[in-house]
Amino acid sequence: MRQQKSISGKAIVKAITSEDILGKDVIDSEGAFIGVAEKVLINSKSLDFIGISVDKGIIRSGLTIGKNYISKITPHAIFLKITVVYDVKGKIVFDKNGEKIGAVSSIDIYGEKNKIKIIYAKPTSSLFFSKKRIAIPIDSIKIVGENVMLNITKDHLPKQFVPKP
């Protein structure tokens, strides 16, 4: 095969292409599978690589991840430096004593950062169609792991319910 000519002005031998990114598994910092890279995002002015768009399947909505959150791009996957905050949805919330509060229905984040502001949990006791939600601020959260552990008891949670955001 004839050698490809280059007018890049730089040594781009080690550069990766969009083909090296698209279709690859995206794995978070805990080893959880997030989805598949479906788009490479490039700044239209600076032409710099700014992130990737991730396809999370038919049921779940897609996700855009900035390049600062990407740890490395390997031959088989893209590793992130973070755990994606949106993955907290559906996790069970337990209070300080291990009492079940409910399940995370939605979250508020700081701007477009990967940082939780408030977690909205649907109480276990409420009915399926109920719009009642408990707003739990980040200060009350001890650990977000397999589920969410709070550092307060159920009695110290805000009494008033907030409408479904």
Partner: protein, 163 residues
Amino acid sequence: MRRPHQILRTERPLDRTINLRKLIGKRVLSKGGEIVGRISEIRINPVGFGLEGILVRGNVLKKQIYIGRNYFSKISKDAVILNIEVSVLIKNKKVITSKGEIIGRVKEVVRNGTRNDLKGVYVRSLFSREFFIPASKMEYVNKSIVLKPKYETTKKYFWQSNS
């Protein structure tokens, strides 16, 4: 209800203790909130009379787990919260190389005696033989096991010889 007589020397008063009978069937949670199971038995030391551990219920697919009190972080009327992530629960989790290749799933967990410390895991994939990965070769263990960059996989397929 009338308060019972209390005959104590240095022990805690009745209202500052937990009724163990009521703990049966309650949840056992790991440090990160993973549901380990429900309590089936509470075991005490016949000599010192202190709480020694709890037996977590199993089922047809899942073995019972006996957890010693040193791994307890908190006992409340609703649950027992551990100060660890239970290592035996990593069974069936994916094993990924530093290049993102899935090389199999954990088939067996090898621990340091009966402790929770992980020594290594036996991994298998669909067409491969079982192979051992020591804990020292693991970058982190969480939702899956990600291996360190320098780990050379020793995966062997059925059609390859043992040598």
